[in-house]
């Protein structure tokens, strides 16, 4: 049952082959059995889950259920969940029981879906390996010596190991797409503004976007309709209505214009990944797509611009953690400054501290123009490059990452090398565009991710293109051994 798609699980629930209670029980058992190895959950909400499942079963019994009623889901621990610890992977929020639900959580609840628990992540979503969590690193289910990617590493590992049929993530510079690639599953980062940020703990507010992990584009299409759409509680929520994504999944790809950015295919790209992407391109050609070389000339500038903008916004957002209203407070502060300084230093880990300091510096008097303003100007140029490209192509295709998952500990002492591993994903966030990663092969037993980048609010098209590939290939059906 745990290898079934969400559409199949839904079918089983609707036809009473299984109850939501039984299904939920099965996933909770799997978490108990396997998560000691992976560490993908920070909190398992067993009692909550079984209660929600019972409620779902009532709705199913009286014929008041929708297609997702009773389906379990894991939530990244960045989404506030009322009455449940919401840690954001940080010691700072280890004692934080959220007094309210994020909009995303409210919508899952309203759809009758069942939260299994809160997944592990890099502290405050800052990281590309899930090694920055206060709760310890997550392991990659394909090889336990490797990282699952980050920052949504717990969600990606849990879905890959079938501990949950789907999970939420957030993506500020690649935090959904990169772990999806490293764990061999499908992930979507929607257009900035598509999914509400209300109750999603802020890292870099002009870049953060909530999204999803599942085993296939088809599953993602069903789930995206739960969370996409306008929310008046999010000041940058898009007012454009979300289409029903499943409707266009099977549209023909004949005549589809695919752009391959030449900057994505250089010597820095792993050979096996390059070959896998070329093989995927052949699949699309067979489906009637045409292939065009395009250029995204500011790709290499997107990382320095990002590592000014994201830390600047982070330093501002994380100023709220002051030891006064919620979160960690130091013992016996001698004055207010001591309270602030010790609470913050004790509560934040090294990467968060690093980024707060970079951001504080970039925003400080005399440096604002040279760093923050300069980066925001580069950002416009990066966005313009995409805009130009989409005049001649419908979708941009390339690798999600330059290399497959790396070993635990391999990059922890060199923050810059960790930052550079996000080369293909970061520009998409700067421009606010939607992106996906779907499985496209393996190298030395580790999954390869293919990235699809769409035009603003083009999620339906992206899902259609990803589904077209998944009908022709079976990479997305592979499961790691031992789970």
């Amino acid at each position: 049952m745990f290898t079934k798609s969400i559409a199949e699980l839904s079918q089983a629930l609707q036809t009473k082959k299984i109850s939501s209670h039984e299904l939920t029980q099965m996933y909770l058992e799997r978490i108990k059995q396997f998560d000691k190895k992976l560490n993908s959950f920070i909190t398992v909400t067993e009692e909550h889950a079984l209660q929600a499942a019972k409620k779902a079963d009532v709705q199913l019994a009286i014929g008041n259920a929708n297609i997702l009623t009773g389906i379990p889901v894991a939530q990244k621990d960045i989404f506030c969940t009322q009455g449940v610890k919401t840690s954001c992977g940080s010691k700072m929020l280890d004692n934080f029981i959220s007094p309210y639900d994020a909009t995303v959580i409210k919508r899952f609840n309203a759809a009758g879906m069942v939260m299994l628990g809160k997944t592990n992540m890099d502290e405050f979503a800052m990281g590309s390996s899930n090694e920055n969590s206060y709760y310890g690193p997550v392991k990659n289910p394909w090889n336990l010596e490797y990282v699952p990617g980050g920052s949504s590493g717990g969600s990606a590992a849990a879905v890959a190991a079938n501990l949950a049929p789907a999970a939420t993530g957030t993506d500020t510079g690649g935090s959904i797409r990169q772990p999806a690639a490293f764990c061999g599953i499908s992930g979507i980062k929607p257009t900035y503004g598509r999914v509400s940020r209300y109750g999603m703990i802020a890292f870099a507010s002009s870049l953060d976007q909530g999204g999803l992990f599942a085993k296939s584009a088809e599953d993602l299409a069903l789930l995206l309709n739960v969370i996409a759409g306008f929310d008046e509680n999010d000041s940058t929520s898009a007012t454009i209505a979300a289409p029903y994504y499943a409707t266009t999944l099977n549209n023909s790809l004949k005549g589809l214009r695919i752009g391959l950015p030449k900057e994505f295919f250089n010597e820095a790209l792993d050979k096996d990944i390059a070959n896998a992407i070329q093989a995927a391109v052949k699949v699309y050609e067979k489906l009637g797509a045409t292939i065009h070389e395009i250029s995204l000339p500011r790709t290499s500038l997107s990382i320095p611009a990002y590592y000014v903008i994201a830390p600047a916004e982070c330093s501002s957002n994380l100023a709220r953690f002051d030891g006064v209203r919620y979160g960690h407070r130091c013992d016996a502060p001698k004055d207010l400054e001591d309270l602030y300084k010790r609470s913050r230093s004790e509560g934040f880990g090294k990467e968060v501290t690093r980024r707060i300091m970079i951001g504080t510096y970039a925003l400080s008097a005399g440096y604002f123009d040279a760093y923050y303003l300069k980066a925001q100007k580069i950002r416009r140029l990066v966005a313009q490059d995409f805009h130009e490209a989409f005049k001649s192509v419908d979708v941009i295709l390339g690798p999600t990452t330059p290399s497959p998952a790396f070993k635990l500990g391999e990059k922890t002492s060199d923050p810059l090398s960790m930052y550079l591993s996000d080369i293909y994903t970061i520009a998409v966030n700067l421009a606010g565009l939607p992106g996906m990663s779907i499985p496209a092969g393996f190298t030395a037993g580790l999954p390869i991710g293919m990235q699809l980048i769409g035009n603003a609010f083009g999620e339906a098209k992206l899902l259609n293109i990803a589904h077209g590939y998944q009908k022709e290939t079976d990479w997305h059906t592979k499961t790691p051994e031992g789970f």
Binding site: S206, T236, V324, S345, I356, I358, S364, K377, I378
Partner: protein, 98 residues
């Protein structure tokens, strides 16, 4: 751009962070490396380019000036480190008579 230990201490103070001496050394080196890397931005001429603050490139949305939140002080203070009589407590800020 290379930072000195003094710069790092000043930044830490602005960000209200305490650093132990060994961390000052580590961060001086790491932050300098990151800032040097960030300077690659200067390769690009951005004269006459408008900054891009928000991907939707929209202004702020307005709403009617109506009460939308109800009082949840008790719920919010239930998770506060130290409260008394509905107030958040912090160490004494204004010097008083002892």
């Amino acid at each position: 751009m290379s930072l000195t230990a003094g710069d790092v201490k000043k930044i830490a103070h602005l960000a209200r962070l305490n650093l132990v001496e060994s961390d000052v050394t580590l961060y001086t080196e790491q932050l300098s490396t990151i800032l040097n890397f960030v300077e690659h931005m200067n390769q690009e001429d951005t004269e006459n380019i408008e900054p891009f603050f928000n991907p939707l490139d929209l202004g702020a949305r307005l709403r009617p000036d109506m009460v939308t939140e109800h009082d949840q002080r008790a719920a919010f203070q239930a998770i506060a480190p130290q409260v008394e009589a509905g107030l958040y407590l912090v160490p004494q800020v204004i010097e008083g008579e002892e």
